[in-house]
């Protein structure tokens, strides 16, 4: 509608794709392509193979995938609980208090993940809370990093929620707990699943803090991918990356299904 002339429109679209294809479309494609290859010296990869995926199915990579999924599950559930709780509690406070809570819970977004990892290392390397070297510290780091996003999503969803629902429920004689459980949380369910998906995806791909704290027996997938590419096995790395993306997408799709069901109930 902005560019009425047909030829000009075509030129604009051409320019669009000239930017879009190399910057956005190709990166994901080449990773997928490389994961099935053994070499890339020409324009296209060569030596088609499924070996990388076979290796994943047998070796440490499967453990890493499982480690990542478990970490992401634990972290996103904890973060969702904490974030939702904080958002719900903040909603009932005065504007000023809410601002402070907002600032506190969004602070982890601003702090570099590497520093979050470092801080946990510094804080929990000595008794009484000796977590260094345990899987828990990885989960803890991921939780800290994704709680902000859970909090943010739930807060945004709460501001969108028409207060009339809550008020009608209260007017009908429902106590606050009843309102929360029977009205607010069900209405928030779609947003909660979205937040869960976000937390899960972020945790699955978390590398920065993880690099600082992972113990040798709890290697999440991103660390494995780095290890592979660092020793030059780019194609193995690509296959691992595809596994990471596929798992993330699968979980997101599942949650999206759930959400559709929840919003159409």
């Amino acid at each position: 509608m902005l560019v009425p002339s047909k030829s000009a429109r075509r030129a604009v679209h051409l320019l669009f794709f000239a930017l879009f294809v190399p910057v956005f479309a190709l990166p994901l494609l080449v990773i997928v392509a490389a994961s099935f290859a053994t070499g890339w010296s020409g324009a296209l990869p060569s030596g088609a193979t499924l070996a990388h995926y076979r290796d994943i199915a047998h070796g440490d990579a499967l453990d890493a995938l499982l480690t990542s999924v478990l970490t992401a599950l634990a972290a996103s559930l904890t973060a969702l609980t904490a974030g939702t709780w904080a958002a719900l509690a903040a909603e009932k406070r005065t504007r000023r208090t809410r601002r402070i809570i907002d600032a506190l819970f969004l602070l982890p977004v601003a702090v570099p993940s590497v520093v979050v990892g470092l801080s946990l290392l510094v804080a929990f390397s000595r008794p009484p809370l000796l977590l260094n070297g345990t899987p828990q510290i990885v989960i803890l780091a991921h939780t800290v990093l994704v709680t902000a996003f859970a909090y943010q999503s739930v807060t945004a969803a709460l501001t969108r929620l028409d207060p009339a629902y809550e008020q009608c429920a209260a007017g009908l004689g429902a106590r606050p707990v009843h309102v929360l459980w029977r009205v607010k949380l069900p209405l928030l369910l779609p947003s909660l699943t979205a937040a869960a998906g976000l937390c899960f995806a972020l945790s699955m791909g978390e590398l920065s803090a993880t690099m600082m704290i992972y113990p040798p027996d709890w290697l999440p997938l991103p660390v494995q991918i780095f290890a592979a590419t660092d020793r030059g096995s780019l194609f193995t790395g690509a296959a691992l990356a595809v596994a990471l993306m596929a798992t993330t997408l699968l979980v997101l799709l599942g949650l999206s299904r759930l959400r559709t069901k929840a919003s159409y109930r």
Binding site: L2, T94, L107, P112, L118, A156
Partner: protein
Amino acid sequence: MPRTESGAAGTGTGAAGTEMVAARTESAAARTGTGAAVTAAPPVRAAASPRTRFGTRSRRTGAAALWTLPPIAALGLVFLYPLALVVWQSFTPEDGGHSTAPYTAVFAQASFRAALTNTVLLAAGATVGALLLGLALSLVIAFVPFPGGKVLSRFIDLFLAFPSFLITLALLFLYGTVGMANGLWTDVTGAAHGPLDFLHTPWGVLLAEVTYFTPFVMRPLLAAFSQVDTGQLEAAASLGARPWRIVRTVILPEALPSLAAGGALVLVLGLNEFGIVLFTGAKDVVTLPMLVYTKALLDGDYTGACVVAVVNVALSVALYALYRTAMSRTGGSPARRTGGADRAGA
């Protein structure tokens, strides 16, 4: 009337990542009043703030305060307390006592100064790049529509679901010494090596960051663009304004807060980016987060790492605070902005 639950992202039937992504950039959209739900809400909503403000506060404040405590306490234990320890440690030299000596030491290192410069330049460059690219792509998707444009914007959202280092990995296959672009060159010219070898330079990092951060700019921008009244565009066009003029006078004023929000977010994320730099693996591209990592894990110099961490946190948090303040300012007056755009369109 029940309102659709999801925000700008729609009904939740679409691509898996979409709504999630909306949530990730929500702050930008929601706080600037550009999220569809924010402005499209029925007038009932407008009365909400005074209403809650004079809700039966006195009775319930005590209970509400009690409910606020557990999450804050938890956050304090696992985030604020460790962060405070980092600051404490940064003032604690290896040889005992407390002083600013570690800072003097770190500031004196050339590697630190180089990292600081690198970090700031890369973040600034990535921000500018992402803003330009994001603005251009969003303008086309929103105002020069083509079949499949919506799908493409969702596809871009997917980037937000994936970790940043994947981009570096992909760039290795695209522009690496072995890779598509150089391969194409050697295939065509028969030369032994391709011409492209920039991935291990700051430019490689910059390219990756621009790619990765552009969706963060596009999400709030597209939300803002969807709020632009097409009637205004048509009015402006009918009055003889050329496309670029319409963009400048009608569209951009409306989208400016979202643009600022996206830019500020990218700047902060850029300062903190680690995965892309780590995967690039170049010795001469060291940023502050990278320096924290090498100092702590490779050199075992925790105090030095803490000093760098404090500097990095101070930078990012200051910027983030600025961004939040700017957002709450611009977010407060969506009506005024619409008014301005009305004038521009008339």
